[in-house]
């Protein structure tokens, strides 16, 4: 698992994944970006949580509207 993690985070680091996840809230990601992210998120609990935090913040800020 460690070796796999290393290989996949070499393709897309957490830093890069976090940027793509943020941009995913503002534009349609390309197919390539979506595949890389999907692979990364399958093995990375930290970025999965970050992704949930983004959704959380979006919901929290939308609350200011209603």
């Amino acid at each position: 698992m460690d070796a796999l993690f290393h290989k996949l985070t070499h393709v897309l680091s957490c830093k890069e994944a976090s940027r793509l996840l943020s941009q995913g809230q503002d534009r349609a990601l390309t197919a390539g970006e979506r595949v890389k992210l999907w692979l990364h998120l399958r093995i990375c609990i930290a970025c999965t949580r970050f992704s949930q935090q983004l959704a959380f913040m979006r919901q929290a800020l939308a609350n200011y509207r209603s």
């Binding site: 680091s13 940027r19 970025c47 949580r49 970050f50 949930q52 983004l54 959704a55 959380f56 939308a62």
Partner: protein, 191 residues
Amino acid sequence: MDATLLTAELDRHRRYLLRVAQLQLRDPDLAEDVVQETLVAALGACENFSGRSSVKTWLTGILKHKIVDAIRQKQRQPIVMATFEAETDLDEFDPMFKDNGAWEARPSDWGDPETTLSRQEFMTIMDLCLERLPANTARVFLMREVMGLETDEICKELTITANNLWVILYRARMALRQCLEQNWFSNPPGR
């Protein structure tokens, strides 16, 4: 809607409108002006209020336009572009990540939004965290998340590139999540 009823209703929403305007504009006088204009515009257009949306949503819609106008006016002052550049520099060292691009501190599990968002104390912390963002960053972030403007609208309004915008929004989200982690989730009161 009857004008007397509407006046009372507008007054009830004034505080909320002021808070949103102040967060976005960072200028108490300007925020007052913008809210005042919003209320005047709302009174003048009260026959347009269909009652299909809530009064709050309707007012927020008007406020959105007034804030965009105010930002556009401010934008004429050249200083803003320089500030934007300072706020969009992504090459700068990012303390959130190690050299190899791994998280310096792993994001934690924030749990169920519904439970947390219903708590007034949480919303207070969130206000404080938003106030801590750099002024231009906060302005853009709230245009996107609270006003719900599309990214191309924001780019057009502020004459910035899409890339700049993504960087600003990324920065805002990273800073907000870190502030919430530190001030709420690492030690949530009464949980």
